[in-house]
């Protein structure tokens, strides 16, 4: 009669445990990535709002750019007041875009 666990049983148990741990770690990693993206978007929106407020009051035709923590907000204003604003992320991706017409001054 033998009692206790064989090495194979222990290894298998550890393997199952490892899969569970990796799953939790993967979830944490995903949460961290999502949060980083949310932070980047929040900062992009905040910067874009500030730029839009300025353009609304002083929207002279031309191009401009304003950096934020993880990218840059760039805009162009045409002679007709048409404004195109974009927030560019750290990898060059477009985080948000706004196309509008500025009020006549």
């Amino acid at each position: 009669m033998r009692t206790g666990f064989t090495l194979l049983e222990v290894v298998l148990a550890l393997l199952v445990l490892e899969i569970g741990v990796l799953g939790v770690a993967g979830t944490l990693l995903l949460a961290s990535t999502t949060l980083t993206r949310a932070e980047t978007l929040e900062r992009a929106v905040a910067r874009a709002e500030g730029v839009l407020d300025s353009l609304r009051w002083d929207g002279a035709p031309g191009l401009g750019g304003a950096p934020f923590a993880a990218g840059e907000v760039v805009w162009s204003v045409g002679d007709s007041g048409r404004m195109d604003l974009r927030a560019i992320g750290p990898n060059g991706e477009i985080l948000l875009g706004v196309i509008s017409v500025l009020p006549a001054r």
Binding site: G4, L28, L35, E49, D53
Partner: protein, 245 residues
């Protein structure tokens, strides 16, 4: 090989338990597994705590920025808001009413009201705008059932308001507001109305000495610095115009 108690038989008889080398190896392997498990748990808890701090900081940034910007969007410095130390005192507008031509009594107005909440005579005042472009402030003294109709004054719930004293004859619009103040205190953005105390609107995540309002001749801004370095980077930005360009 086994790592725990086992029974082994040999030709001459039976031997129970494990040999000393087996027991030592089993003990070492067991300790290693426990150590790794504890370290993993510790690192996961640490990672979860960092995530929670970053989430709180993000919520605080979003709420703080949005709330104050919304309150100040249509306000004018000096008339609608004033900054002193950590306090931003303001008229917090909660609704707008179109004044009907018919007036039930000299100190009463029949209005059509739209707003984010119902008027409350205990805490609300009115900024009354006249047809000639004037403005005057009255306290909302009471409310009653509307005595009359007002089809021409647009959308909104019909209401009858009693003021603390008679308003101008040509009042056309009434803006309902409460007086309150926002504070960057106790590591959070707080709102205080009357004697209700400073109620926190955000999680308490900000470094108190470093987190401040920033006011220049043209702009009101804010600098938000998280108390904990794990909570992420701070943010400085625009909230409202201090003087209209």
């Amino acid at each position: 090989m086994t790592v725990s108690r086992r029974t082994r038989r040999d030709g001459a008889g039976s031997r129970r338990g494990a040999s000393v080398p087996e027991a030592v190896v089993a003990l070492l392997v067991g300790l290693l597994v426990v150590h790794l498990a504890l370290r993993t748990v510790e690192q996961m808890r640490s990672a979860q705590a960092r995530l929670a701090k970053r989430t709180d900081a993000l919520v605080a940034l979003r709420v703080g920025r949005y709330v104050v910007r919304s309150e100040l969007r249509v306000g004018l410095r000096g008339r609608d808001w004033v900054l002193s130390d950590d306090s931003l005192s303001l008229r917090a507008f909660r609704g707008t009413a179109t004044v009907c031509p018919m007036r039930p009594a000299p100190d009463e107005l029949l209005v059509r009201y739209r707003g984010t909440r119902s008027p409350d005579p205990a805490k609300d005042s009115l900024l009354l705008l006249t047809a000639r472009g004037g403005a005057e402030v009255r306290a909302l003294a009471g409310m009653g059932a509307p005595a009359g109709s007002c089809a021409a004054a647009g959308a909104g719930a019909l209401a009858q308001w009693r003021l603390d004293r008679e308003p101008a004859a040509d009042v056309v619009l009434a803006r309902l507001f409460e007086r309150g103040s926002y504070h960057l205190a106790g590591s959070a953005l707080r709102y205080e109305r009357g004697l209700s105390g400073r109620q926190p609107l955000t999680p308490e995540v900000w470094s108190h000495p470093s987190t401040t309002w920033t006011l220049s001749a043209e702009r009101l801004g804010v600098r938000l610095v998280p108390r904990d370095a794990d909570a992420g980077a701070g943010w400085s930005g625009f909230l409202a115009w201090a003087s209209r360009p």
